[in-house]
Amino acid sequence: MPTEFLFIRELLLSLGRIIALSLFGILMYFKVDPILALTVLLILGSISAYYLKEIRDI
């Protein structure tokens, strides 16, 4: 159903965003340099991008 599909998509998008922000928050809480924390996020973001090709299989 489109409604269900869209809802699950938005739910999981939010989950991914919250995981990313929590990771950044944890790094900042432990006084990691902001540039280093952002670098971690950028690298993990590019790895996430690689898995987006699975869109054809869902």
Binding site: L6, S14, G16, I18, A20, I35, L41, G45, Y51
Partner: protein
Amino acid sequence: MRSFVLSLIGIFVPIFVLKQGFSILELIYFYTFYYSFNVLTVIISLKLFEKLGYPKMFVLSSFFYFLFFSLFPNVHSLPELMGIGIFCSLAVSFFWIPFNILFAKAKEDKLKVACKQNVTGIIATALAPLVGGILATMLPNYILFYFSAFTFILAPLALFKHERIKHRRDGKKISITLEKIKRYRIFVYEGFLKISTFIAWPLFIYFLFSSISVVGLVKTLTNLVIVILSVKIVHWVKGSKERLLDFSNKLYSSTLFLRPLAFTYFLAFTVSLLIGFGTTIFNIAYNAFFYEKLSKKCRLSFFLLGSSF
């Protein structure tokens, strides 16, 4: 208009929050609350969309953007910032749900739909940071803020013309199982990537060069490449979607991988150029698949509804 606004969201909102005197941890709290609340606003948006249809949803979205931007300059504490995040979340959800269904319903080949959306949208996207970058250099912050607010409020109204497309009630209840979450797990990756692209990347450039103008110029360069390439790419993508997705995905993820190397102006602009190449092709291929999946689900829903009458 949509892309113009999206670009402004991506570049300026985290920086506006920091410039308002909030710390980076408070910015993280704001976004975490905002995305958590988003799950609730998506349900509200889905329910309302079935009742109201496209135009009223776009008007409501504009209204909530108006509330968000009207209150933003007066916000000086974290609870207040989180409070107005509710309006922003409502505005975004009320816009995206109808927007995605609108594109999924287009009768053309989805690759062409995604291509046209990219070409027209990215031209606007290229203009946003260019105008924003120039304004940020020449004008005080509050002018840039009200300029952004104006475009945010107008963007949903740009889609107001789609009044004739009627949406029919879905009727089925939403059920979420672990199996479905596993099946659609790539959207978790997409969510992570969105934070990495729209929040971490502008902040990374902002912290490196301590200038909002450099953020605008880096984004402009990326988008100019995207505009030039998008116009050409319409003629290239006549082949298989699968091959395009495979090729573009490798290009996209490898160009994104270079972002942490942007330590000097030269490297920042070079990386932006490469990201422009990667993003254009991948966005078209990814959106083509997404609209196709959504379109199939819309058709299935209408078929079931039709057979039940």
